[in-house]
Amino acid sequence: MSQRISVDKRVMVLGGSPEAGSVTQELLDLGYAVHWITPDAVLPDGPGDHPRLTRYEECALVRLDGHVGGFLGRFRRNGTELSLNASALVVATGNERYYPAERYGLALSSNVLIIPQVRKQLEAPRSTGAALPHRNQRVILLLDLGGETAKEIASEAMCLAIDLRAQWHCEVYVFYQNLKVDTYNLERLTRTMREKGIVFCRYADPQIAVDDEHINLSYIEGTVSGELLVLPEAVHPRDDTQELAGLLHVRLGEDGFFQDINIHEYRPGISVRKGIFFAGRCHMDGDLADAEGDAMQAAANVDALLGTGSLEPEVIIAHVDSTKCIRCYTCVRTCPHAAVEMADYDEVTAARVVDLACRGCGACVANCPVRAIELVGQAMPAWVQSA
């Protein structure tokens, strides 16, 4: 039963995030040919020209056929169709940022700003002669308002606090509820912040009063008054995530990002479908360094699958008896790994399990109403067969 099938060492990377660039670079280094495809207008900084790299911008997936070892992606690009082959696929579409006005209950104004606005003021060239609007002022950086701030945003907030202190000599108070500094970068940043005299305050049930000149934040330990309130943005899945998940036949997690279920058996980044992997912030909360590390892991996962240049079915796989099949599509719908499809046999059309994509779970076997599917390689005691 077990036969090795040689496959191309060619991978599709979907997405225009920085981690997509990292996956691409790592795969090129490992000797793979890569199609790097993004629906966005521009690809981020990443690997430059490389003989094994082809880049496609403004190119959206419209259909994915085939299975591990032979995916066929159909894309739309400037109104024309484009077909690309690959043995595996890495999704690294990243996430999207937004200002959660409802969750915060605060409107942005001249002294209530989000991090990028402050960053822009901070980086405005001195030569324009513009006044430094918040120099020497007291700044309140309010994290975790109405829910945890994403790690990548928290790390940007920390960098901003350090720069405000160093460049504008601001007095910076960081308010937080549940600040997780479980990555090397974040821990290092918090230490630097404390060394520079930035004050951390843990709060609950804040009362925020904003007028034209002052911001008063009252919490259990008292009231802090400042001249500038800086708020972090929040992240949510990209708009096209749901559609993409449908095209790839993978499920989304409860929060709408790719895959947060199944983390016990399938380590994060490995999807229910063989040959489809996730990398970076399209499936996890993390800062850029985390996403980078996750991208390396995704490339390693691809290499673990395709490294030998050949694929082999698992020991236990399902097999359809085409003469018994009644074409009810129950197995096609049931298979959690999208490994069953309708196929033409010699004389009939019937369900077929794609050997390489099958994980041997047996869901189709138990669900088949006419018992046309059996698990090959699965030993059962004699009493199961004979009544």
Partner: protein, 136 residues
């Protein structure tokens, strides 16, 4: 090990199978009256497996599957639980008491919970009738 009525243990190889492997690595084993049947995933469980186990002379059958969210194949544990429910209905129609069929969620790290479940797997004692008032 202790003697007892024949118990057939049907379980997912990724959770129950690993737990039994864990048991062996701590130099223990399943009791002799327990027959272990490994299936690749809870979703591969068929009502027939359970019914034929009883036909083959088992007194009791225990089905083991992963916890929610831990299944390799997304919902295998839920399929298994559903099939156990269906099989229990059939058994009760045939006059076999429902308690003879048990279902548990298990993780690879739970070999000793499994031994305890097997130990406790017997007919439930009916709740004591409340004493009539005034009697001493």
């Amino acid at each position: 090990m202790s003697e007892g009525p024949k118990i057939v243990l049907i379980g997912c190889s990724h959770s129950a199978g690993e737990a039994i492997g864990e048991l062996r690595s701590s130099a223990q084993s399943l009791p002799d009256h327990v027959e272990w049947v490994s299936i690749p995933c809870g979703s591969a469980l068929d009502e027939l497996h359970i019914l034929r186990a009883f036909e083959s002379g088992a007194e009791q059958v225990m089905v083991l599957a992963c916890y929610d969210g831990a299944c390799r194949s997304v919902e295998g544990n839920k399929w298994a639980e559903k099939r156990v429910g269906a099989a229990r209905t059939i058994l009760e129609e045939a006059g076999i008491a429902g308690w003879r069929l048990a279902f548990h969620n298990i993780a690879p790290s739970m070999p000793f919970d499994l031994l305890r479940w097997l130990e406790e797997f017997r007919e439930p004692v009916p709740a004591a009738e409340p004493k009539p008032e005034g009697s001493s």
